[in-house]
C-alpha cells in the first residue's frame, strides 16, 4: 500500500487525552470525534487536515487511556497513516484491530519538518520525502499476524473469517 501526503509533526508521548479529550467521549460518532481530533495539541488541526495527510510523531504515541475513540478520530479526520518512533501498547493494538495504518520508523522524525510531503510504501517498507534529496528511510517490518489483521480488515473481520 502507498500513502502520499502532507506531514503533521508532533512530539513524544502524545497521549490519548490529547488525541481526543474525555469531554467528547459522550459520543461514539466518528465525525464528531474527528472534529475535535488533537484539539488540545493544535486547535487548528481538525479544520486544516486533509484526506491522505500523515501524522509523524516521536516516542510512545497514543499513551494513556485505552479509548478506541482516539484511532477512530484520527482515521475519520482523514489521516492515511501514523508514523512514530514507537507506539504505546494499547494504541498499537487498537490501530490494527480497527484498521488504522501505523508504522514505526527510527529516522523519519529527525529528518522531517511539519508541512513537508512524504510517500510511504508499506509493501517495500520505505519512506521518501517528496521534493528532497534525502535518502529513502525504512519502516519497521509489520509482524505477520498484524499484517493478517490488516489484510482481513481488522480484528472482527479476521475472527469472522476464522469462524466461517
Amino acid at each position: 500500500m502507498k500513502h502520499r501526503g502532507r506531514v503533521w509533526k508532533f512530539g513524544d508521548h502524545i497521549d490519548t487525552d490529547v488525541i481526543i479529550p474525555a469531554r467528547y467521549l459522550t459520543t461514539t460518532s466518528p465525525e464528531i470525534l474527528a472534529a475535535h481530533c488533537l484539539e488540545d495539541a493544535d486547535p487548528t488541526f481538525a479544520k486544516k487536515v486533509k484526506a491522505g495527510d500523515i501524522i509523524v510523531a516521536g516516542e510512545n504515541f497514543g499513551c494513556g487511556s485505552s479509548r478506541e475513540h482516539a484511532p477512530i478520530a484520527i482515521k475519520t479526520a482523514g489521516i492515511a497513516c501514523v508514523i512514530a518512533r514507537s507506539f504505546a501498547r494499547i494504541f498499537y493494538r487498537n490501530a490494527f484491530n480497527m484498521g488504522l495504518s501505523i508504522y514505526e520508523s527510527e529516522d523519519l522524525w529527525d529528518r522531517i519538518s511539519d508541512g513537508q510531503k512524504i510517500e510511504v510504501d508499506s509493501g517495500r517498507g520505505t519512506i521518501r520525502i517528496i521534493n528532497s534529496n534525502a535518502d529513502l528511510m525504512r519502516i519497521q517490518p509489520i509482524p505477520p499476524f498484524m499484517q493478517e489483521l490488516i489484510n482481513d480488515g481488522g480484528l472482527m473481520k479476521h475472527l469472522s473469517k476464522k469462524r466461517s
Partner: protein, 425 residues
Amino acid sequence: MGMTITEKILCEHADLKEVHPGELINARVDIALGNDITAPIAIAEFEKAGGGKVYDRDKVVLIPDHFVPNKDIASAGQCKVMREFAKEQIITHYYEVGEAGIEHAFLPEQGIVLPGDLVIGADSHTCTYGALGAFATGVGSTDLAAAMLTGELWFKVPRTMKILLYGNMQKWVSGKDLILYIIGMIGVDGARYRAMEFAGETVEKLGMAARLTIANMVIEAGAKNGIFIPDNVTREYVHGKGKRNYKFYTSDPDAEYAEVIEIDVGKIEPQVAFPHIPSNVRDVSQVGEVMIDQVVIGSCTNGRIEDLRIAAKILNGRKAAPYLRLIIVPATREIYKMALREGLMGIFIDANATISPPSCGACLGGHMGVLANGERAVATTNRNFVGRMGHSGSEVYLAGPAVAAASAVLGRIAAPDELAWGSGS
C-alpha cells in the same frame, strides 16, 4: 528455563506447556470488562460481527462509572446502550450507579476478579487487578467485542521487569508515592510492552490497598500489566469474597527477567507529579510554592477506605483553604458506607469538602470537578496530561492522599508535616 508469574498465567490460559516472551498466543479470558465509554463501541462491533449471545454471561462485566450519574443527554444515551445490552444478555455483573462504583475498586472488593485470573478490560487501568496476582491488562473496545464473542483474545507474551523494593517507608509515604517514584525513575515508557513484577521485603509488608494503587499506575509507565506474587495478604483479602475457584501462581526461581531494578524505599519522600506527564515527579520538599484551586481525593487509584482514612487523619479538625474546592470521591458504595460508619464523612463535611458519588467523572475531566483555564488541582488520580481534568490551560499535580489533604488545608502543594501537629498525633 523457569517462567515468571505473568508467563505462567498466560501459558495456562492458552493451554500450552510453556510460553516465551515475544510469542503470540490465543488465551482464554476469565473476565472481560467494559464501561459506559468503551462498551458502546464494543457492543456495536459485537453486533456487527453477528452478535448472538456473549460467550459467558457470568464473565462479561459491564459497569457504568465514567459519566455517571449521567452528566448529559449524550452520556445518558451511552449508558442506555449498555444497560439494554446487559438486560438482553442477562449479564450477571451489571451494576447501576448506586450499587457499584468505580470499576477497578469494585471488582476486587466484590471478588469478581480473583488471583490467577486472566482479565481484559476496555479501560487502561484494568492493570489494577495485578495486585491480586492476576494477569490483567487494558485493551480497546474491539478487543472487548472479540472477547465477548469468543471468550478468547490474542496476546503477545511480554518480557518481565522485576522491581525489588526494600527498606522501611517514611512517614506519610504510601503506595502512590512508591509508584510515582518508580515512574519518575523509568519514565512513561520505561516499561512499554513489559510486565512489571513487584517483589522484595517492602512488598511483603504492603497491604492490598497499596498494591492495588501501585498496579493501577503501571500503565503510566507503559506496562502491559503489573503483578504481585500472591501471599498471605492476598489470601486474607480474597477470603470469603470469591464465588469461583482461584489459583495462586508464583515466579520460578530461574525465571528470566529483562531487567531487575532495586529501590531502597527508605529514601523516598512523598512525591508530586508536575504537569503534564506522570514521570515529572519531585519530592514534596522540592515543590516550592504552588498555589492550588482544587483538590480531588478519590479515583480507581486512591479512592479506597485506606486512602480516605489518611485524608481524614489530616483533615480532622481542619478546614479547606478559602476559595479552594475539596472534592472527595469514595470509590464504591461499600467504601462510602465504611467511611460513614467510621465517622470520616463527618470530618470531611466539617472540613468543607463536598462528597461526590462514586464516579470517574472528576479524574478524566468528565464532570463533577472540571477545571477552568489557568486553574490548578492536586489530585490523587493517575494522569496529569494536558486537559485531563478540564481546560487545556489547567494543570493537574498528582500525589497521594496525605499530600492532597495537607494541600487542601494550606491552599498550596504541601507536605503533611507542614501542618501543626499536637504532641499526641
